[in-house]
Symmetry: C2
Subunit: 207 residues, 2 copies
């Protein structure tokens, strides 16, 4: 994906192949959000007017760069996890032993397929938190980009949550399902945070 | 952008150059949403189970493909409009005539710079509408991708609105400002529509 032209990646996303799909799209939205946080930091760090925020923005930049790299890895992981689910469904089901092995393989693959968007949701929540962290000290000329970063991360979050839920729906182990679903609560809380960042930016612009 | 590697485009977005910035990011989010609508259509059209929705999904696919192409054009237009604003601010202001010419040029450039995200917001609203249109007849295996499309388009919409507002804030012509702001109302209404699509998908998955 990293080396693929933007137009070609979008063509693949649009095609009748299941991957790249919603998982990669969510990861891309998170990467876009992280990249904009980096831009805001890069356009603020070193300017005397914002010297008081220098340490905070330098830390945010480092963090945003890492999150962007990880988001692109998650896009790739998503395709692998999806392939594992498909492969499990294609296992033989001739004998009872086959059937049991196949069911177990499907369940294991579904946990893996839920794990990737869960990590995407967690990553997107971190991007939202970064958008809030950089907002007070962001160069006023790019404050609108902080809102764009927050809304892109929020889209990643919303998408990742749906992608987790769709995998959990087919998971029969109640305990594992509850554990995975429980891990969604923290990233879900970041959606309201993202909206608050967008609202604050709009207020600042309107002044 | 189309021919640029994904990783390189994200590097440019993250860099200390103002373009590509939030405008291109919003356009990219809209393109991702449109691409996912195409994928859902491509994975549904031709399947006997969904024959009743064939005409609707075929029309949606054509529409989504057009919107994706236009979104990428808007990303490029955004950089051009931004460059025009910067160029206008750099005009000479030595004489009173210079100053008047410069002020007029800035105002004209700001209208252009507001126009691009306004069109992005309108386009994103169309992607949201498409997500709602394809939802009833979408292949059940990719119904989660309809939600991802809606949330990506919503991010594009939110971002584009902030990008319009930031340009309007510097516009002194009250009448023109009101006219441009008035055009935001329709796309803004699509945000709730996007949330409704995501909620409906989550309900369907939970069943």
């Amino acid at each position: 994906m990293q080396t693929q032209p933007v137009g070609g990646w979008l063509d693949d996303l649009a095609s009748g192949s299941s991957t790249p799909g919603g998982g990669a799209a969510a990861a891309m939205n998170a990467a876009v959000g992280a990249a904009l946080i980096s831009m805001v930091c890069n356009l603020t760090i070193g300017r005397p007017k914002y010297a008081a925020y220098e340490a905070e923005l330098t830390a945010a930049l480092k963090n945003a760069e890492e999150l962007r790299g990880k988001a692109l890895e998650l896009a790739a992981d998503d395709a692998v996890a999806f392939a594992a689910v498909i492969a499990a469904y294609q296992l033989p089901k001739g004998t009872d032993a086959d059937k049991r092995a196949r069911t177990a393989a499907i369940q294991t693959a579904l946990v893996g397929a839920a794990e990737v968007p869960l990590r995407t949701a967690e990553l997107a929540a971190e991007v939202v938190r970064l958008s809030r962290a950089v907002l007070p000290g962001a160069n006023v000329n790019v404050v609108s980009d902080v809102a764009v970063a927050a809304s892109s991360a929020r889209a990643a979050l919303d998408a990742a949550v749906v992608n987790v839920e769709v995998n959990l729906a087919a998971l029969t182990d109640e305990e594992q399902r509850a554990a995975l679903r429980g891990r969604l609560a923290a990233p879900l809380a970041a959606a309201a945070e993202a909206d608050a960042v967008v609202a604050e930016v709009r207020e600042r612009i309107a002044k």
